[in-house]
Amino acid sequence: MGKSIVDKIWAEHVVHREEGKPDLLYIDLHLVHEVTSPQAFSGLRMKNRKVRRPDKTFATMDHNVPTINRTQIDDQVALNQMTTLEKNCLEFGVELAGIDSPEQGIVHVIGPELGLTQPGKTIVCGDSHTSTHGAFGALAFGIGTSEVEHVLATQTLWQTKPKTLKLEINGELAKGVTAKDVILYVLATYGIRFGTGYVIEYCGDVIKNLSMEERMTICNMSIEGGARAGLVSPDETTFEYLRGRKNVPTGEQFDQVVQQWKAIASDSDAEYDKVIVVDGSDIAPMVSWGTNPSMTAKVDASIPRQNDYQTELEKDSLVRALSYMGLSEGQRIEDIKIQHVFIGSCTNSRIEDIRAAAEVVKGKQVHPQVRALVVPGSQQVKKIAEAEGLDKIFVDAGFEWRDAGCSMCLSMNADVVPNGEHCASTSNRNFEGRQGAGARTHLVSPQMAAAAALNGHFVDIRKVTVGAV
């Protein structure tokens, strides 16, 4: 029997194995950010420990950086967290893309951009969306701060091998249906727990035909299905994306490393603990209406009713969610009015996302009742977009064009959705209070967010003429 990519990566990284214990797994890349690391560094300091491999550790600040007026930060507590990271990186010899760096950005956007993320690596970060890096055929997962400290001190982690889930998406996507819709559809169909205890391997024709950035969008939200990691076996698309990037070998060495990367891909006869098959042609543009990502419907559908559910717990969750969202059972998705639009986050803030949204917006105007924000995932993405004149398209249409960071994805900085207002957001979580106390989040693709910005409510992107000025 063949082996899956997870089996192969795991086998290559076990440092120590002992009966009755998890495996001690070697970590190739440790990404660090300002929110989940300060307590880990103080832990090291208290015990007089060092960072074992600063060369395999890379830090940036993204969660609470302002996306406007960066030279003057008013939030003293946030500022303290940022300067603490700077001090820690200096003291422990860790490379940092700080607030002034042209490489600064959301940790899951810059890892791939800088070529740090590579096939076959084990990658961790004190952040649950570390699953994003799985798009490259890396085993990448989020960890807590105690584990951050453990990796800093030892470059290893005690881990029990997860089960494997093959999620095959066959066929073709209809026009207007994006990678974001694929993952939202999967969550709407299988719920927010189907991946608990598993690593998801995405495959099938739909995945094969996606770009690296689209694959990242899907792997990013694996955690929303309960899986700590999601990945795609590397192929030509992966290698081409990595060719020529900083931190990636060049010339002959590149060809050699590609051979190693090829060998890590799943064998065609690999065995999995669970298999799910999805028909890609069944997927439509999706909009979340509730307070977890599985509470999502097709844009031309309606919000469910209590009768659509079997158990009391589900009915209770529906009622609770709708009361928080200020929506009613059976309401049409296209009738939901929005007051805010956020295009950004580690799910959808890469250059392709920004281009796709710009196509929709070009030559049009943001609805007068809507405040709309574009926050590129990294300063590099921002620079490319500006070189292509995309910033101008957005600003002319009435969008705000910002510096890179997590921004309104979790609103730790000043970018907040006010109480009771609705936001079409390209981020990944619609939990209560995520975008601000009482804020009502609807998860959508960049195209759908852009179209909602122009109309003040959700519209079916399949019916909108895109790019026609």
Partner: protein, 199 residues
């Protein structure tokens, strides 16, 4: 961390499914650089109405539930982000154990690393405890070595926990210290791997 073997405490029932980490500790409180002091922000948006007024309806705020050390919740508790601030907040508030039919993976790990015992019982058992807790607060005893949860009225259930984590919790061991004893092995691994990959 000192070891945990057995303890008795007041239980409080929070009968909601999919309680996420944004609920356990909202993001505006993640900016601190210490591990302590998060307890007053636990379940902040549920515990307080606007302007910091106590929401008297919320389970944790009921007078009879004051001083609870065991939280009973419904399925998929702790889903969402990896923030360890969630167990820090639970711990700082006074909780020593959380009982639920299922937990999200990262949260489950984070509890173990901070000496909070995440206890998985069957849906029926948790259902029984949730129903009991809705009527009145009550006392539960948890014995980590016997892996049991009992009350004074005949309820008794067994819970699973890996032998590894049981030993870690009971003895209060420092995981990093244990790993550092394998330092030579890690170095040997690094050497062999770096030669193989020619890096």
């Amino acid at each position: 961390m000192s070891g945990i073997k057995e303890f008795e405490g007041k239980a409080v029932a929070l009968d909601r499914a999919n309680v996420d980490t944004d609920q356990i500790i909202p993001k505006q409180f993640l900016k601190r650089i210490e591990k302590t002091g998060f307890g007053r922000f636990l379940f902040y948006d549920w515990r307080y109405q606007a302007e910091g007024v106590l929401n008297e309806e919320f389970e944790l705020n009921k007078p009879e539930n004051q001083g609870a050390t065991i939280l009973i919740a419904n399925e998929n508790f702790g889903c969402g982000s990896s923030r360890e601030h969630a167990p820090w907040a639970l711990l700082d508030y006074g909780f020593k154990a959380v009982i639920a039919p299922s937990f999200a993976d990262i949260f489950h790990q984070n509890c173990l690393k901070n000496g909070i015992v995440p206890i998985v019982l069957t849906e029926e058992e948790v259902g029984f405890l949730l129903a009991k807790g809705k009527e009145n607060s009550f006392t539960l005893s948890i014995d980590l070595e016997k892996q049991s949860v009992t009350d004074h009225e005949g309820f008794s259930a067994q819970f699973p926990i890996s032998q590894y984590w049981k030993a870690m919790l009971v003895n209060g061991w420092d995981e990093i210290e244990i790993t550092l004893q394998l330092d030579d092995k890690i170095s040997a691994f690094e050497q062999q791997r770096e030669t193989a990959l020619q890096i």
